[in-house]
Amino acid sequence: MKNFKNTKSRVPTISTASLPDIVFMLLFFFMTVTTIKNNTLLVDNNLPNADQIKRLAKKDRVIEIFVGEPSPELAEVLGSEPKIQLDNKLANVIDIAPYVLSELAKKPEAIRNLVTVSLKVDKDVNVGIVSDIKQELRKVNVLKVNYTTYEGDAFTNMK
C-alpha cells in the first residue's frame, strides 16, 4: 500500500513490445509478394490491361523485352520515338535476335525450349514495332511470347 499513491497519478503507458512483431509481419508480407527490380526502366512502360490473362511461368524461363517512349529525361536527347530496351540499354530491332540468343545460351539446356519472351510494351506504342519484334523472334525460332499486361478491364486501354 506504500506505492498506491504513486501509481494512481501515473499515466498508463501503452506497451510497444508487440510493435516489432507487427512490423515484421508487414515486412514478411512485402518480402513475399514483391520481386526485386533487376533493371531500371529507360522507357515509359505503362502496360495495357487485360482480363483473360495467364500467369507467367517461373522467372528463370522468361526473357523480357521492354518497348516504350524514352523516359522524359532521355526524350530530350533521343526524341519521343518508341525505343526497345534490352537488359539495361536501348537497342534497335536488329539487336533483338542476338540478344535473345545470348540470353537463351545462358539458360540450362533442359529449359531452353520452355523459354517465353515477355513483351512489356507501353499501351500507346504503335503495333508496327511490336510486329517487327515478332518477326525477329520468328527468325531465331523463339516462338513463345507473352503480351504482358496488368490485370484489369481491357476496355480502359482505349481511353
Binding site: 510497444t16 516489432p20 515484421f24 495467364k54 510494351v121 507473352n146 482505349m158
Partner: protein, 206 residues
Amino acid sequence: MARKHEMPEVNAGSMADIAFLLLIFFLVTATIQTDVGLDRKLPPKDTTPPLPIHERNLFRISLNKNNELMVEDNVMEIQDLKSAAIAFLDNGGAVVGDKNYCNYCLGNRDTNGSDNPNKAIISFNSDRAAAYGAYVLVQNELTAAYNELRDRESRRLYATEFLEMERTYFDPKTASETKLELRAKISRIRNMYPMKLSEAQTNMKL
C-alpha cells in the same frame, strides 16, 4: 543481492526501428509482381505454301490506324467482337453426315459460316500505326471468346470451369495422377475449340 537471480534483459525497444528500416528498403526496391499476360505462339518461320482456305471458314478482323475495327465487311464496335467471334466459331455449318459435322455446336448452323470449330480460323490484321492498347484489347476479346466456348463444353462434360482446370493443372502442388487426368480433359476441350488465330497476310479470292 536480489539482482543476481534476475535474467539480464535485452532491450527490444530498437527492434521496431530496425524492422522499419528493412520494411522501407523492401518497399522502395521492390515492385509488386505484374507478370501476367496473354500467351501466344508465333508461327514458325518456314511455313508450308499457303493453304487454300474456304472463305466461309475465315473470320477477318482488321484494326486501322484510328483504332477502329472492321469485321468481315462491316465496321464493328469492339464491345460486339466477342459475341461475333463466338457466333462464327460455334456456327457448325456442316450438314449432318458430313465429315466436318459438329455435334456439340450450338450456333446458327448457317451455311455461310464456319463448318466446324476445327476449321474456323480467325485472321487478325492490324495497321502498323494502331495503338498497342487496342491491339491487346482485340486479342483479349478473342481469347475471351475461346475461353467462353471452352468453358461451356467443360461445364457440360466435366461440370467444372475450364480455367479452373487449367489453374489446377499448372499448380505445382497438384498430384501427378490428377495432372494426367486433367491433361486429357484439357486437351480434349482444346481440340474441340482449337485456337486458330492467324496474323498472316491473307489474300481474298474474288
